[in-house]
């Protein structure tokens, strides 16, 4: 046991003395959290709009007020002629222009039907779609409130409701995925690098020639990163809860259990990579291509798996975070229990066992 403690002590020295390691361990998770949280946001909030009201009657003014008081929009321009539109979009002053046709209120009252034109800046198609959807939803809501009791309810009632994320908040989407990506980074990549470092510097030989058993060496390398992974996962959960207000609807114990399982999987993947490569640079490159890119792109973290081309959907099945992110979303957002996620849990468990098995085989071949 003292031998093992001596080993752990050495590992923590390595970690806390290397600025690059510290940046990866603590800088990157926080940077990712902030990036995804504040910068790469798709949220509709304070979108600058222009309003052209050719009618200026009671209803059009009320509807404009409703749009502006929703918190999603902010009045940035009131162009007087159509020729100004393009300039406003080009300069980025507005993202959407709402045009009320003449006699808007009267037409609604008399004909039960009136037109609003929505012009959006579709150079960012996703954002434009989102903005238009919001506007439509608010406009329909307004009409319904005004004429709710009236039988000849004007317009089509488009009821938009985003299940599990009523506000379409991005944080709901990225926190569960970010946990997977960060754990992949710390557990798998750092484990692969730290083990190959011992191989590269030649100290692995000395360790193997010492009375330490191979399993003790591997555990000694892995345990510090396991501890740091758990700390990081908790930090992301807590920041998610307090800063981005992402709740854990389901069982916290179940979520933590699944996180531990995924850490175990990531560590075994890191060990596996280290059995294939002999220097840190290759380990880093391999972790980058084999782990990080698929973890971000193919796991459903950013792009939903269902929207991918079929070959990529099939490929995504072998990406461990894909299954873990589903678990996270189910437990954190929908409050699902083990009954809902046992297939994913089994897949993660199976993958871990497979990685460990191959690692042991590779290790034995190396000794022969």
């Amino acid at each position: 046991m003292n031998r093992f403690l001596a080993f752990l002590q050495k590992e923590f020295h390595h970690i806390f003395r290397d600025p690059r390691t510290l940046v990866i361990l603590f800088g990157i998770p926080i940077a990712q959290l902030l990036l995804f949280g504040f910068v790469l946001t798709n949220e509709v909030r304070n979108v600058k709009i222009g309003v052209v009201d050719h009618s200026k009657d009671y209803l059009s003014i009320r509807m404009t007020q409703r749009l502006l008081s929703s918190g999603f929009f902010q009045l940035a321009a009131t162009p007087s002629s159509e020729s100004e539109y393009e300039g406003l979009f080009r300069s980025g002053k507005v993202k959407e222009i709402i045009v009320f046709e003449p006699d808007f209120g009267r037409r609604i009252m008399k004909e039960g039907k009136a037109g609003i034109q929505l012009i959006a800046d579709a150079s960012e198609p996703n954002a434009a779609q989102l903005i238009v959807n919001y506007t439509t939803a608010i406009a329909n809501g307004f009409v319904k409130d005004e004429f709710g009791q009236n039988q000849k309810l004007p317009g089509v009632d488009i009821k938009v409701r985003m299940l599990f994320n009523e506000d379409m908040r991005d944080a709901y989407n990225f926190i569960p995925g970010l946990i997977a990506v960060i754990l992949m980074l710390i557990s798998a990549m750092m484990t692969a690098i730290t083990i190959t470092r011992e191989k590269e510097t030649g100290t692995m030989e000395i360790l193997l020639a010492s009375p330490l058993k191979p399993i003790q060496i591997i555990l000694g390398k892995v345990v510090p990163y396991m501890i740091l992974s758990i700390v990081n996962a908790l930090v992301v959960l807590l920041l998610g809860y307090f800063v981005f207000e992402v709740p854990v609807v389901g069982s916290l114990a179940l979520l933590l259990g699944e996180i531990l399982l995924f850490i175990f999987l990531a560590l075994s993947l890191g060990i596996l990579i280290s059995t294939f490569v002999d220097n840190q640079v290759t380990a880093l490159a391999m972790s980058g291509f084999v782990l990080m890119l698929p973890s971000i792109l193919l796991s459903g973290f950013i792009f939903p798996v269902k929207n991918m081309p079929v070959p990529l959907q099939i490929l995504s099945n072998v990406i461990p975070p894909r299954w873990f992110i589903e678990i996270n979303r189910t437990v954190m957002l929908k409050g699902g229990g083990l009954g809902a996620i046992w297939p994913n849990t089994l897949i993660l468990l199976g993958m871990s066992v497979l990685f460990i098995f191959i690692s042991i085989r590779k290790f034995k071949i190396r000794l022969q």
Binding site: F7, K10, H13, T203, E205
Partner: protein, 242 residues
């Protein structure tokens, strides 16, 4: 100090990598207290043999005993009783001298009192006491190598295996390094060393010369020189290799 009691016994050691025969039927004994040299060109099979004896690799066939323990079944016992210094430099550059010593003492299961006493004694002998909190990475190569050797025998092993320990070191430091080896021998440690420096071969009690995976000569440097009618080991080696 040299006895006739064998601490390493190797009979018919064979190691194959696929079709390549790295060690072709090696037979030798190393006696307690001697400096046994393994000499040969790069690729002659020296490192393969030393790795097998240290338990880092398993032989294809043969009967071998190290420190009285069987190489197939008692590797754990063997590892407790040997020290090993590889070709590559084997200390942690980002740890201090003191931390490296503490780590290696720790993994060999030394208790704190024992470790402290040995550390103090060792640093004094190397005249490094005032530098114990320096990082290894800041030290000159010669110092590092002397330290690596001292740490390899910190736990007082029966045998220490040195795989080309003086590669890339200047002749003066090499001479100092060999003084450390002699000191270790005086303490009763058997030294098994591989090298391709022929002047170092002269320092050994017995040398075995390897070529293409076979032992082609094995005797004291004096007898080898007589046998091949050479004035130094360099000539012996060239005559055998030719």
């Amino acid at each position: 100090m040299i006895t006739s009691e064998p601490v390493i016994t190797v009979k018919n050691m064979v190691k194959k990598f696929g079709n390549f025969v790295a060690n072709d039927n090696l037979n030798f004994e190393v006696y307690k207290g001697e400096i046994f040299g393994f000499i040969g060109a790069n690729g002659a099979g020296k490192t393969t043999a030393i790795r097998i004896l240290c338990g880092l690799s398993t032989p294809t066939s043969g009967v071998m005993k190290v420190a009285g323990y069987d190489i197939y079944r008692q590797t754990e016992k063997i590892k407790q009783n040997i020290g090993y210094m590889s070709q590559k430099f084997s200390l942690y550059e980002d740890l201090t001298i003191y931390e490296n010593i503490r780590f290696y003492g720790g993994i060999y299961g030394m208790n704190m009192a024992e470790r402290k006493a040995r550390t103090a004694e060792m640093l004094e002998r190397l005249e490094l006491t005032e530098y114990e909190n320096r990082k290894i990475g800041d030290l000159p190569l010669g110092w590092k190598q002397k330290l690596a050797f001292s740490i390899a025998i910190l736990h007082n092993p029966k045998i220490v295996f040195l795989d080309e320990p003086t590669g890339g070191v200047d002749p003066i430091t090499r001479r100092q390094f060999w003084n450390l080896i002699y000191e270790a021998v005086e303490k009763g440690i058997t030294v098994f060393v591989t090298t391709h420096y022929m002047d170092e071969a002269e320092y050994c009690d017995r040398v075995s010369i390897m070529a293409d995976g076979k032992i082609v000569a094995l005797d004291t440097p004096q007898k080898l020189k007589e046998q091949y009618n050479a004035s130094n080991m360099d000539e012996v080696f060239l005559k055998i290799a030719r």
